[in-house]
Amino acid sequence: MVTVKYFANLKQMAGKEEDQFDINEGTTLEQLSDLIKQSVPQLGDMVREKKVMISLNYDVVPLDTVVKDGDEIALLPPFSGGI
């Protein structure tokens, strides 16, 4: 099982802070986006269309990265910290 967190406006779109999904061995983030799409259709599309960044265990990674049980994934809209 992996956790997928939603932040900022994506959290508002999702109407929740996170989802948890059971995954098969060898699942990539791209494949995980299908599960996200089942939960929040709009967000699944945004991942596929690379409209959001995606992090795996606190680092931004490409979509072909494989996830494993216990991983923490997050969908990240463009950052606007600083000033």
Partner: protein
């Protein structure tokens, strides 16, 4: 999330004292000759829109990790003595402190370069998001990729 002066990268709700943070950094070395500080504050207007308040949200753990990476890279790449980075989250009024970066070096040149690089890198890599409250309501800044 730590608010004590013990940590040199922090994300916190409370305000910080620039003087206290600088004095804390001075303890790193007796060879500090130059300290460049960048302080970001809440501006009343953005792209012509009048802002009444700001709210910052972060991704816990990842944001602190990124600030730590920026600090370490800045010290190494620019030959600094030390650096600290503090970012506030939550509700921010106009004029309030938002972010503080302190770059300490033997000489001034590297501290200017490192401080300027660090704030740009923070904006690029650190998962923090700003929500502006305007007369039209609340908007996430750059929420559309």
């Amino acid at each position: 999330m730590s608010t004590a002066l013990e940590s040199k990268v922090r994300i916190q709700r409370e305000d910080f004292s620039v003087t206290d943070e600088i004095e804390f950094m001075k303890k790193s070395s007796r060879n500090i000759g130059g300290i460049t500080t960048f302080l970001g504050t809440g501006r009343e207007t953005n792209k012509g829109e009048n802002i009444s308040e700001l709210n910052f949200e972060h991704y816990p753990q990842m944001a602190e990790k990124k600030l730590g990476e920026i600090r370490e890279k800045a010290i190494k790449d620019f030959g600094l003595i030390d650096m600290s980075i503090i970012h506030r989250i939550g509700h921010i009024e106009i004029g309030d402190n938002i972010v503080l970066i302190i770059a300490c070096g033997e000489h001034r040149q590297e501290t200017f370069k490192a401080c300027e690089w660090a704030i740009a890198e923070l904006k690029r890599t650190t998962p923090i998001w700003k929500r502006e409250t305007t007369s039209k309501g609340e908007v996430w800044v750059q929420a559309t990729p």
